[in-house]
């Protein structure tokens, strides 16, 4: 398990770095799919197989494909996307470094917390995570769920309007 965690970590971080550093957007897109897979691996490690599946289906399958499609549609593969502004790079690294430091400090300072919920791994495995999530979505979270579907509908129409000449 630990070995898997480290492997996934290395893959995820490496591919994330590649996403932001390669010139060609198409390559970036491919690396991000790799990253998505690594994250899906984490979800499995965390006993959330359903989410892992969704990660692959939705992110790696749908979103990444749309991106690649767009890149190819606009013929962007050759666009120069290199980092030219060194100045900006330095400032960006400093800012992000600070951000990182702060978050890490937070995590460090958070301290131990007792689990409050009832959904231990045992229960999840007994009932099945898909079923639990499904029950939640159609009971407690039914309203956000419907809103989300409306959002998707709006997004579809919006994308159509934007892309239309």
């Amino acid at each position: 398990m630990e070995a898997l965690f480290y492997i996934f970590s290395i893959i995820a971080i490496f591919s994330a770095l590649m996403v932001i550093s390669v010139k060609n957007p198409l390559t970036s897109a491919l690396y991000i799919i790799l990253c998505f897979f690594a994250l899906a691996g984490f979800y499995i490690l965390l006993n959330m197989q359903f989410l892992a599946a969704m990660q692959i289906l939705v992110y790696a399958g749908a979103i990444a494909v749309i991106i690649v499609l767009a890149i190819m549609l606009l013929n962007l593969a050759k666009t120069k996307g290199a980092i030219k502004d060194f100045h900006q790079l330095v400032i960006g690294i400093i800012a992000v470094g600070l951000l990182f430091l702060e978050v890490i400090l937070y995590i460090d300072a958070a301290g131990e917390k007792k689990p409050t919920g009832i959904y231990t791994n045992a229960i999840i495995n007994k009932v099945g995570n898909t079923q639990i999530i499904g029950e939640f979505l159609f009971t407690k979270y039914v309203f956000p769920f419907e809103v989300a579907s409306i959002l998707l509908l709006v997004a579809v129409i919006g994308a159509y309007i934007f892309a239309k000449k």
């Binding site: 398990m1 630990e2 965690f5 971080i13 994330a16 996403v19 932001i20 957007p25 970036s28 897109a29 991000i32 990253c35 998505f36 994250l39 984490f42 965390l46 959330m48 989410l51 969704m54 990660q55 939705v58 992110y59 979103i63 749309i66 767009a70 890149i71 549609l73 606009l74 962007l76 666009t79 996307g81 980092i83 900006q88 960006g92 800012a95 992000v96 470094g97 990182f100 890490i104 995590i107 917390k113 689990p115 409050t116 919920g117 009832i118 959904y119 791994n121 999530i133 979505l137 956000p144 579907s149 959002l151 998707l152 997004a155 579809v156 994308a159 309007i161 934007f162 892309a163 000449k165």
Partner: protein
């Protein structure tokens, strides 16, 4: 050595920061979008890890909603990218400066 929730969170933080860095330093609209997706995913990872640690389900449910939003966002953003490209002939973000008064 046992992997605990902090380790997941640290990984999530690293990915998030990489995403943020990408947003800050890249000028390509598509790459920026990809960096944003990275940040989303980092957050998702955090949600799931904490949710598992506290024996809750709400974090997982949230992830699903985030995915929905991300999908919607992807659709819209790519629509915008196409419109932008049609307008300017490029997707260099620095060309998008019409918000100026």
């Amino acid at each position: 050595m046992n992997i605990n929730v902090n380790d997941y969170l640290i990984v999530a933080t690293i990915i998030f920061c990489i995403g943020a860095l990408g947003v800050l330093i890249r000028k390509n609209l598509i790459t920026i979008f990809l960096s944003l997706e990275l940040m989303f995913n980092a957050a998702n990872l955090g949600f799931v890890a904490v949710s598992e640690y506290l024996n809750l389900m709400s974090g997982d449910i949230f992830v699903i909603f985030i995915m929905v939003v991300a999908a919607a966002e992807a659709a819209i953003l790519l629509g915008i990218a196409i419109a932008f490209y049609r307008e300017k002939g490029t997707i260099d973000i620095d060309k998008a400066n019409e918000l100026k008064m």
